[in-house]
């Protein structure tokens, strides 16, 4: 499915993009057109709950490499970023740390990239008072963006690298911001995910020890800031010269040409650095002695 086609249908019929996607879902799955919104609401509520849970206690991850990063942002007064962005970064990292310590999260689109979309959703709720229903409709739009990427490329780090995980999450998140801000700005709705994905193109999946911790947790925060940047640029009228659907195709091609060592195997990139190897040795010794 081309995202362009969904947008064109919305334009030509004068129907809200959310309605178009809900109907498309109904035709594809045979289920009710209400199902995406109901499911989406459930996911939003689960994101809010996960963040609340995490705020109660900063449990360290299984390896002990992360666990108190979000806390540092929480207690910090930003020197350059505004309050909204700092909060969004903190939410993103909270979610990613919750995930790394076996917390209950929403895999949106994956567990490793589970912080980006909640970072955007929770910050829009807090600073713009956006209703749960409106956020849920926006998440359905994000679902269509993610589904298009999944069909044309992949959303798995093992298949296409981190560009497919944090990259997809960021593209999805940028479409949420645009939809909430101006749901009929179709040019921006089509450009934002393309701008976001292009900026993370080629990003490799090189987790230390193969665990979803380093660098995954912190990358979620960068996803959030890129999502806001892409949305802001698109809303300013900046167009992605390469259309989103083609960008998604290109990302898949890059993913296929990446060597295996840079696709979640924990053998290349930062995972192959001396410090990473040392951290891993220490963890293995610790867990063998347990």
């Amino acid at each position: 499915m081309d995202f362009r086609k969904l947008i064109d249908t919305a334009i030509s019929t004068g129907t809200d993009l959310y309605e178009i996607i809900a109907n498309w879902y109904m035709l594809e799955s045979g289920a009710s057109s209400k199902e995406p919104l109901d499911f989406s609401k459930k996911m939003i509520m689960a994101m809010l709950k996960a963040y609340e849970e995490r705020r109660k206690e900063s449990v360290p991850s299984l390896t002990g490499w992360t666990g108190n990063i979000a806390e540092k942002l929480r207690d910090y007064t930003p020197k350059f970023l505004n309050e909204r962005l700092l909060y969004a970064l903190e939410v993103a990292i909270s979610m990613a740390e919750h995930n790394a310590s076996m917390g209950k999260i929403v895999a949106c689109p994956t567990a490793g990239a589970c912080g980006v979309v909640p970072g955007i959703v929770l910050s829009l709720k807090r600073f713009d008072n956006v209703s749960i229903t409106k956020l849920s409709q926006a998440l359905v739009i994000a679902g269509a963006v993610g589904e298009c990427i999944k069909e044309k490329a992949s959303i798995s780090g093992a298949v296409a690298g981190c560009q497919a995980e944090i990259g997809t999450a960021t593209a999805m998140a940028s479409s949420i911001i645009v939809y909430i801000t101006d749901s009929t700005n179709y040019e921006a709705l089509y450009s934002a995910p393309a701008l976001a994905l292009k900026s993370l193109m080629g990003l490799v999946c090189d987790p230390v020890g193969g665990f979803v911790e380093v660098p995954c947790v912190k990358r979620n925060a960068f996803g959030v800031s890129i999502a806001y940047t892409a949305a802001e640029m698109a809303l300013a009228g900046i167009k992605s010269l390469i259309p989103f659907d083609e960008v998604a195709e290109a990302m898949g091609k890059i993913g296929r040409s990446l060597p295996e060592s840079l696709k979640e195997t924990g053998e290349g990139g930062i995972a192959a650095t001396p410090t990473a190897k040392k951290l891993l040795r220490e963890f293995i010794n610790r867990s063998d002695n347990r």
């Binding site: 567990a111 959303i155 979803v212």
Partner: protein, 229 residues
């Protein structure tokens, strides 16, 4: 579809190393006819993890995920975190080994175990995004992904055995989506029949099939890959 891109709700840290593993564990549990009613019935379970999976299993919580599934939890339940301790308190003997499954998916696991009356094994893989693929159960090769209600039936390899089973299903007005039949033991004259259904079978149908002459054993795998949390 769009719904599995914006979800599901799972216990972290990895949909393939954690959530999918819970599902494989739960599929294994379903092979025991007496277990759904009795949590303590399992005595011993062994997990053989493909080499790369074994080397990272503690950091991904793969061990907790597999055991959590085997004792009946779902991938969104927080009890998964403490599944090893829960299994111990239930008196289940657990062991993990490194193995090599050449020519199979890298995330392949073999789960074997016994209760007082039954012994089973399952080979399967967590293929990403919490999806699973079961490739062998008790000597019968197959390829099922847990998206249909599935019957695993061991029967005597006699003429008409299959038609009796299929007839039982069709008289309940159920539709079969996929069917595999393999002879598993020529000496004992045994076959395994794997039936994926479009509808959820009732207990009545299961016990009716169980009482059919050629049928030796029936296990029911409910939809394992269920999105709603």
């Amino acid at each position: 579809m769009i719904l599995d891109v914006i979800g599901p709700i799972i216990i972290g840290p990895s949909s393939s190393h954690t959530a999918g593993m819970v599902r494989l564990g739960r599929a294994f549990r379903c092979l025991f006819s007496e277990i759904p009613a009795n949590r303590k019935a399992l005595r011993k379970v062994e997990f053989r993890l493909n080499k790369s999976l074994f080397s990272s299993h503690k950091g991904h919580g793969t061990d907790r995920a597999l055991v959590g599934g085997v004792i009946g939890y779902f991938e969104w339940q927080e009890e998964i975190r403490s599944s090893l301790e829960i299994a111990r308190s239930l008196g289940i003997d657990i062991a993990f080994y490194s193995d090599s499954f050449e020519g199979r998916h890298p995330n392949t696991v073999m789960i074997s175990g016994s209760s007082d009356t039954e012994t089973h094994y399952l080979i399967g893989a967590s293929t990403g995004g919490a999806c699973i693929e079961i490739t062998e159960i008790d000597g019968a090769p197959m390829n099922i992904s847990g998206i249909y209600p599935t019957l695993i039936i061991k029967n005597l390899d006699t003429p008409g055995a299959l038609s009796k089973i299929v007839e039982a299903i069709s008289t309940k007005g159920m539709n079969i989506s996929n069917l595999f039949l393999v002879r598993t033991n020529r000496l004992k004259n045994e076959a395994t029949c794997i039936i994926e259904l479009d509808n959820v079978p009732g207990n009545e149908l299961l016990s009716f099939i169980n009482r059919l002459d050629p049928v030796l054993y029936v296990a029911y795998l409910p939809i394992i890959a269920n999105l709603s949390g």
